[in-house]
C-alpha cells in the first residue's frame, strides 16, 4: 500500500490548499471503500490522502423547500436512515442503499460513488434523473456542474487537481414528482449492477406525465441521460404503450459491452425492462403525493 502522508484539513479552504499543493498525487479520503482498495493495489504511486471528514458540511445533509443539500461524504448508512430525504427522493435513497454490505454502508457515500465514476455506480443514474448539481470548489473558486456532465469516462470525472466536490444540490421537485432506481444483479445482495435505470416522473392532477428524466447505468462508459425515453413518457398517463416506448428508447440509447457479468445483448434488453419498471414505480409514487 502506498499512502505516504495523511492530512486532516479542518476547513474547505485548507482542504483545497492541501489538494493543490505538492508534487505528489493527492486524493480525497472520505469513506475509503474505493480509495483504500485502490491504494492497496500493487505498484501504485506514493499517495497523499486528505481526510475531509472533519469538515462538517461534507458530512451532513439538509432538506427544505428549496431542495436537498447533501454533504458528499455523508456515510450511506446515515443517508439511507434519513426519512425526510426518503420522503422526497425515495429512488436516490434506494440506490444508495444498494452499495455494498452493511459494513461498506458505514463508510461509503453518495459523493464518493459519484467521484469514483464507475460505469456501474448505483447512485449516479439516480442523481442524474433527479437533476442533481455538483458544486465544486477549487483554487479558482467555485463552479457548478450538472451530474450528467460530472463523469467523463471510466473512473474519470471533470475535476482538476486541487478541486473538491463540496456539495450535491438537488432542487425541490415539482408537486406530484417522484423517482425510482432499479438495477439487475444475478444475486440478491452484494453485487455490482449489470444494468440500472433511474427515473423521475412528474404528473398533473389528471395523472398525465408533464415532465420526466430517465438515466441508464452500466450500459455505457458513463451513465446516460436518455431524453428520448423521457419524451416517450411525457404526455402519457404512463400506460403500457408509453412504458414500452420508453423501454425501447432506453435499449436503443444503451451502448453496452459484453463481459463476464452479462452480454451486450442481455444488457440492452434488461435496461429497457428496468426503465419500464422504474418509470411505473416512480409514477405510482408520484400519484401518492
Amino acid at each position: 500500500m502506498a499512502v505516504v502522508e495523511y492530512k486532516v484539513p479542518q476547513s474547505l479552504e485548507e482542504a483545497v490548499a492541501m489538494l493543490s499543493s505538492g508534487d505528489q498525487a493527492t486524493k480525497v479520503l472520505a469513506g475509503g471503500t474505493d480509495l483504500i482498495i485502490q491504494a492497496k493495489a500493487q505498484n501504485t504511486d506514493p499517495l497523499v490522502v486528505v481526510d475531509i471528514k472533519k469538515i462538517n458540511t461534507m458530512m451532513g445533509a439538509s432538506i427544505d423547500g428549496s431542495g436537498l443539500t447533501l454533504g458528499p461524504s455523508m456515510p450511506c448508512a446515515e443517508f439511507t436512515a434519513r426519512e425526510d430525504i426518503k420522503a422526497v427522493f425515495p429512488g436516490l435513497v434506494e440506490a444508495a442503499y444498494l452499495i455494498g454490505s452493511t459494513q461498506v454502508q458505514g463508510r461509503c457515500s453518495v459523493g464518493g460513488n459519484l467521484c469514483n465514476a464507475s460505469p456501474a455506480a448505483d447512485t449516479i443514474p439516480a442523481l442524474i434523473c433527479n437533476g442533481a448539481q455538483c458544486v465544486i470548489v477549487g483554487p479558482n473558486g467555485e463552479r457548478t456542474v450538472a451530474a450528467e456532465d460530472f463523469v467523463t469516462g471510466v473512473a474519470q470525472n471533470c475535476m482538476q487537481q486541487g478541486e473538491l466536490l463540496k456539495s450535491i444540490q438537488i432542487p425541490q421537485p415539482a408537486a406530484k414528482t417522484s423517482d425510482a432506481y432499479l438495477r439487475f444483479i444475478p444475486r440478491t445482495e452484494m453485487d455490482i449492477a449489470v444494468a440500472g435505470a433511474g427515473v423521475s416522473i412528474t404528473l398533473d392532477d389528471a395523472g398525465v406525465c408533464t415532465a420526466a428524466r430517465v438515466c441508464i447505468g452500466a450500459v455505457a462508459v458513463t451513465a446516460l441521460l436518455v431524453p428520448a425515453a423521457a419524451d416517450a413518457l411525457i404526455g402519457s398517463t404512463i400506460d403500457d404503450a408509453a412504458l414500452q416506448a420508453a423501454a425501447e428508447a432506453a435499449s436503443a440509447a444503451s451502448k453496452p459491452i459484453t463481459d463476464r457479468r452479462g452480454t451486450a445483448e442481455f444488457r440492452r434488453h434488461v435496461v429497457g425492462v428496468l426503465t419500464k419498471r422504474a418509470a411505473k414505480i416512480a409514477a405510482d409514487r408520484a400519484k401518492e403525493k
Binding site: Y6, I36, G100, S101, T102, V104, G106
Partner: protein, 159 residues
C-alpha cells in the same frame, strides 16, 4: 516516514499507538496492539472477517486507516464478552455450532451485535441481508442464522 501518533478508545479503554500513514486499522489492531481477534480474510472489504465498530458504526477495519481512529471509539470482538462471561451471542454461536475454522466468527459476532442493537426482532430475511457482508467458507450460514435468531429471542427475553 514519520510515524503518526494516534489517541483513541478501544473497547472503552483509552489507547494510544504509533502507525504509518499506510497502516490500516486492521493491521494496527492485530500487529501494533496485539488484538488478534479481528481477522483478515480478503483485505478488500468483501468478507467482513475484519468487522469492527467505529463510533458505533459497523465497518471493515481493512478499509479504515489507523490514523482515522484519532479521537474515535473503536469496538472489537475483544470487547464483546463481559469480564470472563461470554455474551449471549457468543454462547449461542457455540450452542448452535455456528463455526468451524472460526475465521469469520469474530466478524459475525460483532456484526450480529450491531444487527440486534439496531433491530432487536429481525426477520430471518432481515438478518440475512444485514449479514450479507460476512462471508463464511465453512458452515454455510444455516447454523449461523439459527444462532442469530436464537440470540435475538434470548435477548428479548422470549426464550
Amino acid at each position: 516516514m514519520a510515524k503518526i501518533h494516534v489517541n483513541t478508545t478501544i473497547n472503552g479503554e483509552p489507547t494510544e499507538f504509533l502507525c504509518d500513514p499506510n497502516d490500516t486499522l486492521l493491521n494496527v489492531l492485530r500487529y501494533n496492539l496485539e488484538l488478534t481477534g479481528t481477522k483478515e480474510g480478503c483485505g478488500s472489504g468483501d468478507c467482513g472477517a475484519c468487522s469492527v465498530t467505529v463510533n458505533d458504526r459497523l465497518v471493515c477495519a481493512c478499509l479504515v486507516l489507523g490514523a482515522e481512529a484519532e479521537g474515535a471509539e473503536v469496538g472489537t470482538i475483544e470487547g464483546v464478552a463481559e469480564a470472563n462471561q461470554l455474551s449471549v451471542i457468543q454462547t449461542k454461536f457455540l450452542e448452535h455450532a455456528a463455526l468451524q475454522c472460526g475465521i469469520c466468527t469474530p466478524g459475525l459476532i460483532v456484526s450480529t451485535q450491531e444487527l440486534l442493537k439496531e433491530n432487536p426482532k429481525p426477520t430471518e430475511e432481515e438478518a440475512r441481508y444485514f449479514l450479507a457482508g460476512n462471508l463464511c467458507r465453512c458452515t454455510g450460514y444455516d447454523k449461523v442464522i439459527k444462532a442469530v435468531m436464537d440470540s435475538a429471542e434470548t435477548l428479548r427475553g422470549e426464550a
